[in-house]
Every structure is written in structure tokens, then in C-alpha cells.
Symmetry: C2
Subunit: 343 residues, 2 copies
């Protein structure tokens, strides 16, 4: 039976993770879950972000379910670099999977897009690009200061994430992959991405392909999000585009994500895109849907496709039946989702 590590984290993290576990337990009884205390609270209490011993323990699990970490009281970068990015890199989670659907029952911000019309997934590279920390500064705090950030891209790293995107497109109805980059300006990395994309595309003649510059893609995500099926892109572009995709499909409150090591050599990690929302923490009013959808991605990754599909369908039922303007209770939503998923 699957062994998962649970990092509930800060703010609303524990509240939404509790619902995700409720739903997992309903559709796949017997999953063994171990809780790990990481995040802003632990950092303040102990000064520790991610001790090596904890990293080693996490490595022994099949997957990690994360709620949310962070708090305004922690200096920027500490938990991001020390925890979230550290896990992505240490566990070689090179596929950052971010599906966006405009669910029936959810009203998005776009006047011309109807529920059900948007169903895309961004396959964001997770271990390279501008996220490696490469770069530095000279003459800090003087008028002569120079600071650099380096985007590192390897054929190895680029090709494997593009392969994953095509494999996912093969399993979808529209079978289309859009590469997003900025080849007209970032010519070195752009050329590598474009050539790797072409090579992998040639092995998939049944998958339609297109290329867009990141600025155009950002625009089309707003004006025609319906046009996308699978989008593959680099780490930073993916960070930005997935927030736009979330915004046009009802907000990051509904957005799930997986940081995946597809080969399963290391555990993959699943987390809602939203943060710890300290303003509403502890009140039992956070929407657990993004955490539950992240649990569905987790189940799918661990080979329980049918259980995953039931959880996703349960979310569809929940969202389609929500009365507008009725405040939600986190635990009640979790109860309903668990019930729908096994109905």
C-alpha cells in the first residue's frame, strides 16, 4: 500500500490537507500517511527549514502531499529556496504539472469563455532555467553594483520534459502541444528548446504542435484560453503562465499542481497552488478543492488512475452544485467530496 508523507504546513495548509486525506482515505483505504512538520511555524520555533534527516525520510515515501508553507513573517526566499525549490531539485521533480479547467458552475473572469471550454495542462520544467540559483552580485550596496541571474538549460533536461508533454498529449483528446519560449530574444536557450521540441515532435506525428512567444501566449491565455491543450515551457515562463491560466479559470483557489519525478526514482510532490492565506487561517472557511485536486494528481501518479478520476469527478459535482454566495465550510466540503467520490 502507498506510503505518503504529509506536510500540512502553515495557515490554511492543515485545514485543506485534512480534507485531501479524507478523500484519499475514502477512495483508497489503507494509504499510510506520516506527518512532517515543516514551514514557517517550524522555522520560527527551531530555525530549521529542511533538515537533512527529514529530507532523507521524505525520500523513503511514495509521494508527498503538501498543504501550504509560508507566512509574511518569514524573509522572502527562505522557505522558497530552502524548502519548496530544494525538494524539487533534490527529488529531480522535473515535471511541474499544472492543469487548468474552467469547471461548470465556476464563473471565470472572461466574458466570452463558457464553463467546460477550457481544459489545458501546463507542463512546466522544474529543475533548470532561472531557478537554479546561478548568478551573483558584485559591489553590493554601492552605485557600481551588478547582479546576474543565469538561466541554465541542458538538452537532457529540456528533452525529458518535452517528452513528458508529448506523452501526456497522446493520452488526451485533442493531442496538441504548444511550446512557449522567447526564441526571438533568448536565442541560445530558445534554439535548444526549439530543436529538442522538433526532434520529439518528429517521433509523434499524431500530435499537433505549435510554437508561441511567451508574451503572445500570455495574451492568448486571456483572449482564447480554449485554444490550448498541453503547453510545455521553461521554469520561469511556466510559473507566470500557470498563474494566468489559474486566473482565467476561477483563481488559484481551485488550482492543483504536481512536482513530478516521472520515473518514480524520487517521490513526487503534490500541492495546491494557493498559499497559506494567513488572513483566513483557522476559521474553517478555506476551499479545499485545490488540495483535493492535488490529491487526485497524486493518486494518478501512483498508478491509481481510477481512484484519481473519481476524485476529479467528485470535484466536478461539488462545483456544479455550489449555490452562489453561500459561504463554504472546509470540513463540510471535504465530507461531500469524499461522499461523491465513493458514490
Amino acid at each position: 500500500m502507498a506510503r505518503i508523507a504529509v506536510v500540512a504546513g502553515d495557515g490554511i495548509g492543515p485545514e485543506v490537507v485534512a480534507q485531501a486525506r479524507k478523500v484519499i482515505d475514502a477512495v483508497l483505504p489503507g494509504v499510510e500517511a506520516t506527518e512532517y512538520d515543516l514551514g514557517a511555524a517550524r522555522y520560527h520555533r527551531t530555525g530549521e527549514v529542511l533538515p537533512d534527516s527529514v529530507l532523507a525520510e521524505l525520500a523513503g515515501h511514495d509521494a508527498i502531499l503538501l498543504g501550504a508553507v509560508g507566512d509574511p513573517s518569514v524573509p522572502p526566499g527562505v522557505l522558497e529556496r530552502g524548502l519548496l525549490l530544494k525538494l524539487r531539485f533534490a527529488f529531480d521533480q522535473y515535471v511541474n504539472l499544472r492543469p487548468s479547467r474552467l469547471w461548470p458552475g465556476v464563473s471565470g473572469p472572461l466574458a466570452s469563455v463558457k464553463p467546460g471550454e477550457v481544459d489545458l495542462v501546463v507542463v512546466r520544467e522544474g529543475t533548470e532555467g532561472l531557478y537554479t540559483g546561478a548568478g551573483g552580485a558584485l559591489h553590493r550596496n554601492t552605485p557600481a553594483e551588478v547582479a546576474t541571474e543565469e538561466s541554465l538549460n541542458t538538452r537532457h533536461g529540456v528533452e525529458r520534459v518535452i517528452r513528458d508533454a508529448f506523452a501526456r498529449a497522446e493520452r488526451r483528446e485533442r493531442r496538441k502541444v504548444t511550446l512557449v519560449h522567447k526564441t526571438n530574444v533568448l536565442t541560445h536557450a530558445g534554439s535548444l528548446w526549439a530543436r529538442a521540441f522538433e526532434a520529439v515532435a518528429a517521433e509523434h506525428p499524431d500530435v499537433a504542435t505549435e510554437y508561441q512567444h511567451v508574451d503572445a501566449a500570455a495574451m492568448f491565455l486571456v483572449t482564447q484560453p480554449q485554444r490550448y491543450d498541453v503547453v510545455v515551457t521553461d521554469n520561469l515562463f511556466g510559473d507566470i503562465l500557470t498563474d494566468i491560466a489559474a486566473a482565467v479559470t476561477g483563481g488559484i483557489g481551485l488550482a492543483a499542481s504536481g512536482c513530478i519525478n516521472p520515473e518514480g526514482r524520487y517521490p513526487s510532490m503534490f500541492e495546491p497552488v494557493h498559499g497559506s492565506a494567513p488572513d483566513i487561517a483557522g476559521q474553517g472557511v478555506a476551499d479545499p478543492v485545490a488540495a483535493v485536486l492535488s490529491a487526485a494528481l497524486l493518486l494518478d501518479q501512483l498508478g491509481h488512475a481510477e481512484a484519481a478520476a473519481r476524485v476529479t469527478a467528485a470535484v466536478g459535482t461539488e462545483l456544479a452544485n455550489r449555490a452562489p454566495n453561500v459561504p463554504l465550510r472546509t470540513a463540510e466540503v471535504g465530507d461531500r467530496l469524499a461522499a461523491y467520490a465513493v458514490a
Copy 2:
């Protein structure tokens, strides 16, 4: 009297530039304009992109008015790096100014945003960041290939564009500047930007400030574009965010931009954000509004604030009076705008 260089360019460029000149001539008779033939057509005819002699001649003008350059037949990067970016760097156009307004009469894609509510300007850095061309590749076309892109940021370059943003905010009603970066991941450059921002903000106690990560800003531009007044950001983030801002205010068809050297040591360049649109070129149906708004930015930069305001107001009149679904004729729109501007 002002001497401007006109680069009409490719596709619809000449058609829209003709209207911009019509309007300039109406509000400021006597401007001396010299045409320069640059773009895809010249590249195909002569192999030249921007000869040094032309660059030197352009340098002798007060400003450059550009229509659009580019064509799918030109390999990516040739005109971008060889012409547009070359001019931005050669003429030290470190302020890339991109206003976005949701004009009364224009229906944007967002259901909850009413015309008149969005009025923001992005001050995008234009001479640093990931746009310098720094970077390279090793082991090209082998499985061992590595490609890098380097973001270069100097205190000099960052501080001057932030100063420009605050100066613009001082002249606006809401007096607010939002810094957008990704300080939690791009810690080297992010720290430089954040410290420079803080230092300049301290000199402007009457200007409100906020900071947002680029992914959050991309999202809020879709969900609450009303919240922004002046946004200052780096070259690549600005590229992406301005296309989102254009999308939510009716599309790049209405978006104007200026690449500005504020000190006037070199000519500034003004151009619509839209491209050469080869599909509709030559038919006289392109909307010249973005080119005309770019001309207004040009007039303002050259010290003709009153003429600029009249052109901007003319665009407001035109857009407010457009009947929906009536096809427009480029030259007629230009005639109307010129007439409104002097009425």
C-alpha cells in the same frame, strides 16, 4: 521644429503610420519627417537589417516613429535583435513606456471590469536583464548540449528606470508605483531591484508603493487590473506583463509604446505594440489607433504635452463613437482623428 525619422516598415506598418503622420501634421504643423526603409522588405531585397550609416542618420533626429517590422519569411531573431533591440540599446532607450487604458466604447474580455476603470502604465526597463544577448551554448546539437541566458542588472540601470517610474507617478492622480519582480527566486537581481526601489521610494514619500511577484502580478492583471497605476519592472517581465495589460484592455491592436531615452541624448522611438499583420496588409482595414496613440507619446516626449493630450482625447472620441461591428477603413479613421484633434 521637430525632426522625426519615420520607419513605416512592413505589412500594415505604412498604412497606420500614414494616419499617425496625418494626426501629427494636424496638431503640430511643420514637423519635418524623413522616411527610412527598414524591415523585412529591405532585408529580403538587400540582406541589410540596419546599416551603420542609417543608424547614424537616425541618431540625428529628435524621435523615431515606427509602424511595424517583420514578416514570417524572416528567420526569428534577425529583425528583433538586428533592428528593434539594436535601436533600443544603441539609443540607450532604457524606459519602455506602455500605457494601458480600457477606453469607454471598447469592450475588453473581462466581465467585471468597466470601461474607464483601467488606466495603468508599465515602465519596463529596456536596456538590461535577459535582453542583452549574454549567454551561449556548448556542445551544440549533441546530447550534452548546454545553453545559458544571462540576466544582467546594474544599480545604474535599475535605479534610473525606477526613478523614471516615480517621476511619472508624481504626475498622475493615484501616485502609486508597483514593483514587479521575482525576489523569492531571483534573489541576486531581485535584491538589487528591491533595494534600489526602496531607496528611490524614500525620496518620494507622497507616492504609495507595493511589491508583487511576477506570477501574482500576471494573475492580478487579469482579475483586478484596476488596482495598478504605475508598474515598474525588468525587461522580460515587462514584455509579458504589457501583453497581458493590452489583452485585458481590448488587445494589442490598441496598445501604444515608447522606447524612451528620457534625457534626450538619443532619439526615442514610438511604435504600436501590434505587428505587421501580413494577413490584412494592403487592404486599408487596419486600425491606426495604436499608431496614433504612439504618436501622442512621441509628441509628449518632445515637449508638446498639449498637442499630445489633444491626440489622446481624439482617440477617446473615436473609440466612444464606434458602432459595433461596422468595419473600419484605416484612412477614414485617420481623417476623423485628425479632425477631432483640432476641433
